[in-house]
Symmetry: C2
Subunit: 232 residues, 2 copies
DNA sequence: CGCTCTATTGATAAACCTCAAATACAGTGG
DNA sequence: CCACTGTATTTGAGGTTTATCAATAGAGCG
């Protein structure tokens, strides 16, 4: 019972099922399966046959992709209320990315058939799905533009600010990014190397813009970062 | 009458309206407006209020985006049968990119209301739309990965091969890319500069992999390019 | 033929990566 | 509590890739 309430909460704040009435949500819940993940567990691999889509109910996932040489690129950190693997619903294809938990995480899953039925029953879901994908699409496009036109340090600044907005929580020192975030992660997220990321953050720490520990970052002067990101 | 038949042809081969019956197509056509563009005409600007989506019936469009400093990035060349600006249908937002004709081009347009009605009447359209967007989404993701992990020359090779597949036509010398494609365009498409693009193509021309003239490229040895793209 | 736009090429510099080595940190088991 | 181990981070030196600047050549057009 408690579990169902938890799920309901998540459905309400989720983007896919927005606008559904309570009794409709009940139907949705009955079709979904709950799954708990310890940190650093892979939910699915890029290339796996895509049969299921997932809603993050609690915790956070990291979406990545490897190239042939094994270099990792981070596309997105996905938090509670967000749907992933929408591709599974529509096409008989494979997951284009890998999803891995970065902390203790709970996801709710719907298989292709169930989701299709839900979409047919409640056309709003399809429309919602479409707008979610469009939003993400614009997001990648913007990051693609950044990657083409901005320098590494600007990209790191923009990335930190983005993470701050999506996973930031205010504390006494500044805004803490509530994701275990190593230098390598930042590098993979901005298209640079561990070393350049480290040097950059060190410099910013000396300037007092951030404070950083092992796999954690607090932004102490967001305004300075914003301004820096805008310099040519 | 002739015009309508032309439109019908395009609808049939298009991705959005796939699976519709003839009488349904008629309804779709009545909702659409035909528009002819000379080369280098801007159909819409990034930031314009998005009220209309377009299907390319003939010719080709270039989708680009500028950053604040005015650097241009090319996202896509869009050919006949392809839909653009789907975002216009769903959200009260602005076009995220600029669309410009690169040759004589004919587009069919539907405004937000009409498209919404069509989607409600024929739910297949929504589903098709969703799969189109998903495909493009994966495409940007792949290019994003490339940009992060591959060197300029590899990216140029991959880009030429991609263009070859989507706009290539075989002639006596090899496979001609049927888009006016200057060095600057290639640079904007691969995230490099005019100069690097020029040097690279010059080198390949000496090796006999391509032949190039003013704003045009023929790939004479695709296999060599493929192999080169795969080298580390 | 002169004009404009595009492409080539060399020289130079900047940005960034790579490698190597040292240091800091968190967790573990004695 | 402390040494130990494995991982994360820092930092320097040096090299590679790529951008930038400048000057020239070529192609198409009226």
């Amino acid at each position: 019972m408690d579990k169902n309430i938890a799920i309901l909460d998540s459905l309400h704040k989720s983007d896919v099922f927005a606008g559904l009435k309570t009794e409709q949500n009940d139907v949705v819940i009955k079709g979904g399966l709950c799954k708990k993940l310890q940190p650093k567990i892979i939910l699915f691999h890029q290339g796996d046959s895509a049969q299921t889509c997932y809603l993050v109910n609690r915790g956070r996932l990291k979406l990545t992709k490897l190239n042939e040489q094994g270099k990792e690129v981070i596309f997105r950190y996905v938090g509670a209320g967000e749907l992933i693997a929408a591709v599974a619903v529509l096409k008989n294809s494979n997951y284009p990315v890998t999803a891995e938990s970065v902390e203790e995480t709970e996801v709710i899953s719907w298989d292709k058939q169930t989701m299709m039925q839900l979409m047919r029953r409640y056309p709003d879901i399809t429309i919602n799905l479409l707008s979610i994908i469009l939003e993400r699409f614009e997001d990648v496009q913007n990051r693609y533009l950044e990657l083409c036109t901005e320098r590494v340090e600007q990209r790191i600044a923009l990335t930190l600010l983005r993470l701050m907005r999506s996973a930031g929580s205010k504390n006494s020192e500044g805004i803490y990014i509530d994701i275990p975030l190593g230098r390598q992660n930042i590098a993979d997220y901005t298209g640079t190397t561990l070393y350049t990321a480290s040097r950059t953050l060190s410099a910013w720490e000396k300037k007092g813009w951030i404070k950083s520990g092992r796999e954690q970052i607090v932004i102490t002067d967001p305004h300075a970062l914003v301004q820096f990101a805008e310099t040519i």
